[in-house]
């Protein structure tokens, strides 16, 4: 019994390590997408849950802002440009001694002017003579920044970076690219299972072989066909119907195979009985097979939908990079190139692209797993 407990504690610990290692990257991304972009750029996401101390440099306003009160000239303003939730506790006026003074104390600049900085960033800069310089002076502050989260990055990414449109485009690609193969493959799989015709076995073997053919084998010829077709009829070579059919082609073998596997398991007597009753194959298909296949359809729908939603290669080759056509993954890759250092854009963009798959994952996990287990071989 004692030995068992040690094993069990060890198992729990080991599993916990795995879980933390697996969740940490995604969790970090999610937290980062909710952080203020200035804070995100200078501190790790794991520091965002505690109050952190940051050292920052601000600049006061220049002579434009001065006012004269009595014998003195004043510049009164706030160091923070926007209203930041930070609390200053020390400040300094030289880079050698950046936290020389407590808030509320008065510091002396080299030129004899005096400055007082308050907790919330308000400062009063006082001088006997008129301020001459346009540029303000540097002030070093040590501030406490309590945990704070914001949705600003999401607003920015969806509206200004064009991810909102890309999100809609991805839907416009993924829905038909999932439904069309589901429709034509269910008829195909029905014929392969329940109809007798010459060449059926060869067709089935072709499907099995097509399951593993890499889609790279199709890219160049299909792109050539699309370009020729576009030039011949004077239409765009890259279009939504074009990519729907490409995805239908690449998903055809796996969709047919999974459905065929499922239809095989339906009782033969039922089909025979329907035939005796005078039902045509079309009646049998609509009235008997489709209702029975709903769970299988659900699994295949999820698998294909996620595959199309997450695809990058097909989207890059068969769709324009124009904002009205670009899909999320391609947009995200574009941002990785152009905004590589703007982590607030990248983390938020990545999370936007993951929202739909994660929703499907958490709400329909059962069907997703069933589909994967049934056969996740995909060309």
């Amino acid at each position: 019994m004692k030995k068992l407990t040690i094993t069990s504690i060890f198992s729990q610990l080991l599993l916990l390590i795995f879980v933390i290692a697996w969740i940490a990257p995604t969790f970090g991304l999610f937290i980062s997408s909710l952080r203020d972009k200035d804070v995100l750029a200078i501190s790790g996401w794991w520091t965002s849950f505690t109050t952190t101390e940051v050292n920052e440099i601000y600049r006061t306003k220049g002579n434009d802002a001065q006012i004269k009160e009595g014998d003195y000239y004043y510049i009164k303003s706030n160091l923070f440009r926007e209203n930041k939730v930070k609390e200053i506790f020390r400040f300094g006026v030289t880079s050698k001694n950046i936290d020389e003074f407590k808030v509320g104390e008065t510091a002396l600049f080299k030129d004899g002017t005096e400055i007082t900085v308050l907790e919330n960033g308000d400062y009063i800069w006082k001088s006997q003579n008129e301020f001459k310089k346009k540029k303000g002076k540097r002030v070093f502050v040590s501030a406490k920044s309590p945990p704070s989260f914001t949705l600003d990055n999401y607003k920015e990414v969806l509206l200004k970076e064009g991810l909102g449109q890309a999100f809609l485009n991805t839907f416009a690609v993924a829905l038909p690219a999932t439904l069309i193969p589901l429709i034509i493959c269910s008829f195909f799989a029905y014929a392969l299972t329940w109809m007798k015709f010459y060449g059926r076995d060869i067709l089935l073997a072709t499907i099995i072989a097509s399951l593993v053919v890499p889609l790279q084998m199709s890219l160049i010829p299909i792109l050539t066909i699309y370009n020729d077709f576009g030039a011949l009829f004077g239409v765009a070579a890259k279009s939504f119907p074009g990519i729907w059919m490409a995805h239908t082609g690449f998903g055809l073998a796996s969709t047919t195979f999974l459905l065929w596997n499922f239809l095989k398991s339906l009782p033969q007597e039922m089909m025979e009985a329907a035939k005796v009753d005078g039902a045509t194959h079309y009646d049998t298909f609509i009235r008997i097979v489709v209702p029975l296949s709903i769970p299988a359809f659900a699994s295949i729908f999820i698998l294909q939908f996620l595959w199309v939603w997450n695809d990058l290669l097909v989207g890059l080759v068969f769709l324009d990079k124009h904002p009205s056509e670009i899909i999320l993954t391609a947009k995200l890759k574009e941002l990785l190139g152009s905004r590589g250092e703007n982590w607030e854009i990248l983390t938020t963009g990545a999370f936007v692209s993951m929202i739909v798959p994660l929703f499907i994952f958490f709400s329909l996990q059962k069907y997703f797993i069933r589909g994967l287990v049934a056969g996740s071989i995909k060309g």
């Binding site: 879980v19 499907i207 890499p214 890219l219 080759v317 798959p357 996990q365 071989i377």
Partner: protein, 327 residues
């Protein structure tokens, strides 16, 4: 495009196929009533309607392209003049090609092995603890997200700031805490390949995990209990009973991940685009499809190389299918 015109396009696209099947079958039924003798013709026509669209798609998008790509690999840049083995000779001499083959082999060895191993270990651990299903969900989650999304997640993990600056990438933060110098992980040749593979392992372990979880439940409990009573350690049970029992499952998972790894593109394209010696075949092929207006010959050779990688699996699948059909 606005949301309405997008929705309309989608609706028209999908309804087109529904309408095709509905009206063609409706017409067939209509004429059958009129001429009840031609039963054979009716059946043949029905077969044509049922398999027609799928067969056309299969032919245009898979069968024809496979032969066309092989043909193009013997033709020049524009696919117009026959050049014999010229493109293959080019590939053998090309340093990027050599690099890609070496890297692809590395991916093929490391990723399926580690994903399968982690999946198996985690499936076993998760079976023993009460919060096992939550753990499984978490580890399985990366399966749902895109490779590009995963790329961003991990690029953030690998982020590099100069020594002395605050590290915002988790990996460098850990390295600095442990007293090492921060590293720009993705630019260190050879090693950076392993950092890219880690992403794929992170994703595919979930797949291995769920399939193993399902398979583990089929191991008879009596066998395991008998071994425990005989005093076998858990580790010994794992190696001597569980692994041999799951041999078939291990093979299936290995195959699936191998197929995926052969075509690995998104991760490389998004993270390094083949720089710092991380090139792989699929990325090199994409590059040649568009570099300098595109080179069909070279692109086709590279695609064909990926196909050669899957041929053993293809042959094995067909062999198994024939065995199944005989039973």
């Amino acid at each position: 495009m606005s949301i309405f015109s997008l929705a309309l396009t989608v609706l028209v696209g999908v309804l087109f196929f529904v309408a095709f099947f509905h009206f063609s079958n409706f017409l067939l039924d209509y004429f059958r009533v009129k001429s009840s003798k031609k039963f054979d013709l009716e059946n043949s026509l029905r077969v044509v309607i049922f398999i027609g669209p799928a067969f056309i798609v299969l032919f245009v998008f898979i069968i024809y392209p496979v032969f066309e790509t092989i043909r193009l690999s013997f033709y020049d840049k524009l696919g117009e003049n026959f050049v014999g083995l010229y493109n293959y000779a080019w590939a053998i001499k090309d340093p990027d090609f050599k690099r890609s083959i070496i890297n692809n082999l590395g991916w093929l060895i490391v990723v399926p092995t580690l994903s399968t191993f982690f999946g198996l270990v985690i499936a076993n651990l998760a079976d023993r603890v009460w919060w096992g299903s939550i753990a499984k969900s978490i580890i399985f989650m990366p399966m749902a997200i895109s490779f590009v999304g995963a790329g961003v997640i991990w690029k953030f993990m690998y982020d590099y700031r100069g020594p002395g600056d605050q590290q915002i990438g988790l990996l460098n933060a850990i390295a600095v805490t442990l007293g090492f110098e921060p590293q720009a992980w993705l630019t260190i040749p050879i090693w950076n390949n392993f950092f890219l593979m880690a992403i794929m392992i992170w994703i595919q372990t979930g797949l291995a995990l769920v399939i193993f979880s399902a398979a583990l439940r089929t191991i008879p409990k009596e066998t395991l209990d008998a071994a425990r009573i005989d005093g076998a350690s858990e580790l010994k049970i794992f190696w001597k009973i569980i692994i041999p029992y799951l041999e078939q499952t291990i093979l299936v998972i290995w195959t699936i991940i191998t197929l995926l790894v052969l075509k690995v593109f998104d991760i490389i394209y998004a993270m390094t685009n083949g720089q710092w010696q991380t090139e792989v075949l699929a990325n090199l092929m994409y590059d040649w499809m568009f570099r300098g207006g595109g080179d069909k010959g070279r692109g086709s050779v590279l695609a064909f190389c990926i196909l050669i990688g899957v041929i053993p699996i293809l042959a094995w699948n067909l062999y198994k299918h024939r065995q199944d059909q005989k039973v």
